[in-house]
């Protein structure tokens, strides 16, 4: 875990960036998360998570074309890097390992 430090919210953002491949910019990511998970995401939390992960190397970003909307400001599109994928893999792998090791009995919720 230490190798790829990825918080719960960060993981969510990272996955969403993957899902929105090519269209992953701030507003879109926020919308997506809010839609899928029925949770409120503040702009601040999202943006700081994005920049943090960019600094760690999980994400890269580039500017899109300027349009008339948005006050003429360009969008910044995020993409997962190979390293970011590794981090995701690692995260999912460890979860899966744990999941697989849970004995059957643990899930037998019989009312006695």
């Amino acid at each position: 875990m230490k190798k790829y430090q990825l918080g719960e919210f960060e993981e969510l953002v990272l996955l969403t960036v993957g899902v929105l491949y090519g269209e992953a910019y701030g507003v879109a990511i926020k919308e997506e998360i809010e839609k899928r998970h029925q949770r409120k995401v503040s702009v601040g939390a999202l943006q700081s998570a994005l920049r943090r992960m960019e600094e760690k190397g999980f994400l890269t970003s580039e500017f899109g074309e300027a349009t008339k909307a948005r006050g003429g400001k360009r969008k910044r599109y995020f993409k997962i890097t190979a390293y970011g994928k590794k981090a995701l893999d690692h995260n999912i792998q460890t979860r899966l390992e744990l999941w697989n090791q849970i004995p059957e009995v643990a899930f037998e919720f019989k009312v006695c």
Partner: protein
């Protein structure tokens, strides 16, 4: 509007790289929100989002994000520092040990000084509280007392608009309280009604309003209340005070802190006491103490001028020797010594001395650091050279070495903090304080860290400058040598260290000499094996007293017994006009000390009657007669005072004996004139001399006898010689503290010497090798190795002689009876410091000398 403001704020803090796209996002939301709701909502949302975007990872470059403090460079320096400490762990240990002990000692001294300064400081209104004092001026001298005339407090408040409150209070007294047949002996005072308006105590029950007004009210401290009444409320409970009747508890207050010059566990009202002691109404007495609160803004010096003739005016035609003055209560503890009417200091002298010592001990530790660092600078010269070649600037190197020294000092500081916590408990017992220390407390931590930083910084400056100033070219070429100047400075600093530590040793030795002198001094009477108990309860009855004396003397282990108003250690009454003889000069104003004794007094104390006789139990007329000491005899100015007629306190009789002068006040003062009068009615203590064998049995016998005769009072005995030693408690404490200080100082100095010696041995290993090959003897080699150090220590010692002499001579001046500073003190101090130097230095010298020359020379 709100949106514009949000825009501005955002641009203010956000990193320029992120501004465009995040603002774009915000704009997009803004557009949506305007469509969905309205513009006002969208603006508000925009603004809130801007505030929520204030995140560390989105900020402009700042100190934290740029990591200015913990840069790779700093990381490297810290890493190097630890590697150097590890590589040269011997030296690092010496340094850390020295600094730790030094910092701990000076911090402890700091705590001690602070706690001394805080005595009486618990009063909120301390600046307006004053102790009322008086000078008594006689033709030959002025004495200063903490007491004043009985009527003063009432009149003062009326006559002086500056005085807000004034209260009279008595000395500490023991009283026996009885409730439900249980007896409690407690210590407290009598005080007049405004006392609690001046002396601040926290009331738990009752209030200070109208306190001490009712004549049968009594006020108890919390711990006394708990002793007597347990946990229940004591308010308006009744208890009887032996000899005074029934009293009701009207108040319970938090215990008076130890750091108070006035202590008490109970306070009783003044009125009944005054009614019983009618002499209190006379302006001529000086039997009461006073504490006053002046109105805010009153200049007490001007006030003192105004009141200087106050008692004279009150006395009218009678001449008074008394001048009243007030002293700020906060100064009372530290500034207590008056000499001929002038304030000459007191404990403040010790406080100043301790502060200086603390500073010097720290200095010695810092010098160690400097010396070791510069001495070993050659070892690090190459490092400096390479770093400079690679492009390091002088400032960077300076930074590196400063950081190293501060790091070392901080490590020592932490260790010192732990050390302090360990030794504080025993120290508290020694100096009878309640000092607390915890590194977790800010007001303890801050001074500690400041000391640590200060020491690290100051001791680091010089070595850092030297090290960072090396020339890369000469260092790397190998033609580098430490400068003669820096060698000279090092020697100078070592000499300085030893001046200080030898001075401390000299002082310690002299203090011990004086204390031994005090303990063994022939006082003119025999203070050994005398036990004494207070006269109280049934013993206030003359018949019971006689019974006690007879029964005690029935036991062959008791040689003699007597009653008196006090032991010779505490002669606390005196008279000027109360003693007269035919032909006493009219204008002679001399203070005569008084002992009021009963039969057997001279014998119990083994005093020597040089002329005449002692009091004779067979002669009833002896109650009129007096015994005087030599001082009085010579003062009377009569050729033969024996059998001369004299009057003392209304009784005219003859002088029947002259006793050899004996010390009845502390050795700080001269023996003064004294008269001994036979007044068995004034018996306050019972004294008995024992043979010195079976002391425990004798005390038991005394206890049993007292239990029968005076069953209500607990047995409470003391020995005269122990009481005598207690008089010099502060000097004894100073002596012990001085032991520790000089021990610490010499220890730190030796640590430094040890380090330098090992360095010297390392450097001269080849020289020793060559000398050995050429046939030098062992002794010769050791001499060569230790000679230099002995010179330094010797020089330090020689310089310490005048300094030490001056210091201790000053201290001894406070004693009227003192030792002379003999040459032996200096011989011992010098011999000791040279001897330990040899031992310290020779460890490394011997190692170098015994080394096989083949090993040290084979690479040449």
């Amino acid at each position: 509007m709100l949106k514009k403001l949000g825009h501005k704020i955002f641009k203010l803090y956000c990193h320029p790289d992120f501004q465009e796209d995040i603002l774009g996002d915000l704009e997009q939301y803004h557009e949506w929100n305007t469509e969905k709701k309205n513009l006002r909502y969208a603006n508000r949302k925009f603004f809130i989002d801007v505030l929520l975007l204030f995140r560390l990872s989105l900020l402009r470059n700042n100190i934290i994000s740029q990591n200015l403090i913990y840069t790779p460079m700093v990381r490297n320096i810290i890493k190097t520092a630890f590697r150097v400490f590890w590589k040269e762990r011997g030296y690092a240990t010496l340094n850390i040990l020295g600094l730790t002990v030094g910092i701990a000692t000076s911090m402890l001294l700091f705590l001690y000084v602070e706690s001394e300064k805080s005595v009486n400081g618990f009063h909120q209104d301390i600046d307006n509280i004053y102790q009322v004092m008086e000078h008594q001026t006689y033709s030959d001298a002025t004495f200063t007392y903490e007491s004043n005339p009985g009527p003063l407090s009432d009149h003062f408040v009326q006559d002086m608009p500056e005085v807000e409150f004034m209260a009279a209070y008595t000395w500490s007294e023991e009283r026996l309280f009885r409730i439900n047949d249980q007896n409690f002996k407690e210590t407290g005072r009598v005080a007049s009604k405004d006392f609690f308006h001046i002396f601040e105590v926290q009331f738990i029950e009752g209030t200070k309003e109208n306190s001490l007004v009712r004549p049968t009210s009594i006020y108890l401290s919390k711990s006394t209340k708990e002793r007597i009444f347990g946990n229940q409320s004591a308010l308006s409970k009744t208890m009887s005070v032996d000899g005074w009747g029934e009293y009701q508890v009207e108040g319970v207050f938090e215990d008076v802190p130890k750091s108070s010059t006035i202590n008490f566990d109970f306070i009783m009202p003044y009125e009944p006491w005054r009614v019983r002691n009618t002499w209190l109404n006379d302006w001529g007495n000086n039997g009461i103490r006073g504490i006053a609160k002046l109105k805010p803004g009153v200049d007490y010096r001007a006030f003192n001028k105004k009141i200087s003739t106050y008692v004279d005016e009150k006395m009218g035609d009678q001449e008074s020797v008394v001048t009243i003055f007030v002293q700020p209560f906060k100064d009372r503890y530290l500034f207590s010594n008056y000499e001929n009417g002038q304030l000459v200091g007191g404990r403040i002298l010790y406080i100043r001395l301790f502060s200086i010592v603390a500073f010097f001990i720290l200095l010695i530790a810092a010098i160690n650091f400097m010396n070791l660092a510069t001495a070993r600078s050659t070892k690090r010269a190459k490092e400096v050279g390479v770093k400079k070649v690679v492009g390091s600037t002088k400032t960077q190197l300076l930074m590196q070495f400063m950081l190293e020294s501060i790091l070392l000092a901080l490590i020592s500081t932490v260790l010192a903090g732990l050390l302090i916590m360990v030794v504080l408990a025993p120290l508290n017992i020694l100096v009878e304080k309640e000092m607390t220390f915890s590194i977790l407390q800010l007001n303890n931590l801050l001074p500690l860290i400041m000391i640590g930083f200060g020491v690290g910084f100051l001791s680091g400056i010089y070595p850092s400058l030297v090290l960072s100033g090396f020339k890369a070219i000469s260092v790397l070429k190998g033609t580098f040598k430490t400068s003669a100047w820096s060698n000279g400075l090092r020697k100078g600093l070592v000499i300085f260290q030893f001046i200080i530590s030898t001075t401390l040793i000299i002082s310690t030795l002299v203090i011990h000499d004086q204390m031994n002198y005090i303990k063994s001094k022939n006082l003119g009477y025999n203070k050994e094996n005398i036990v004494f108990v207070p006269v109280e309860g049934e013993l206030e009855n003359q018949e019971v007293r006689d019974q006690l004396k007879t029964r005690i003397l029935n036991n062959p282990n008791f040689i003699s017994a007597t009653f008196s108003n006090g032991s010779p250690l505490s002669v606390n009454s005196s008279t000027s006009g109360g003693f007269s003889w035919e032909g006493r000069p009219e204008n002679q104003e001399t203070n005569f000390n008084i002992i009021r004794a009963s039969h057997g007094f001279i014998e119990t104390f083994d005093m020597e009657i040089i002329r005449g006789r002692s009091f004779d139990p067979q002669l009833a007329t002896d109650t009129l007669n007096l015994i005087i000491n030599e001082q009085t005899a010579s003062l009377m100015g009569i050729e033969d005072p024996l059998n001369y007629q004299a009057t003392f306190w209304g009784r005219t009789g003859r002088i029947i004996g002259i006793v050899k002068d004996f010390h009845f006040s502390s050795l700080h003062e001269k023996i003064e004139p004294l008269i001994i009068s036979l007044r068995p009615e004034d018996s306050f203590i019972f004294l008995a001399r024992m043979t010195g064998e079976q002391t425990t049995d004798n005390i038991k016998y005394l206890e049993e006898t007292l239990k029968e005769l005076n069953p209500n009072y607990p047995f409470d005995y003391k020995f005269v010689d122990k009481t005598y030693e207690e008089q010099y408690k502060s000097e004894t404490t100073i002596g012990i503290l001085a032991d520790y200080f000089s021990g610490v100082a010499i220890f730190i100095s030796l640590l430094g010497l040890f380090g330098l010696a090992s360095f010297a041995a390392e450097q001269r290993i080849k020289e020793i090798g060559i000398r050995k090959v050429l046939g030098a003897g062992l002794l010769n080699l050791i001499l060569i190795m230790t000679r230099g150090f002995l010179m330094l220590v010797g020089t330090g010692f020689l310089l310490a002689i005048p300094l030490g002499y001056f210091l201790v001579d000053n201290w001894l001046d406070a004693f009227e009876y003192r030792v002379n500073i003999g040459i032996t003190v200096f011989l011992i101090a010098g011999g000791a410091s040279l001897l330990i130097t040899v031992i310290t230095v020779s460890y490394h010298s011997l190692k170098a000398v015994y080394a096989n020359p083949v090993k040290s020379l084979r690479y040449e």
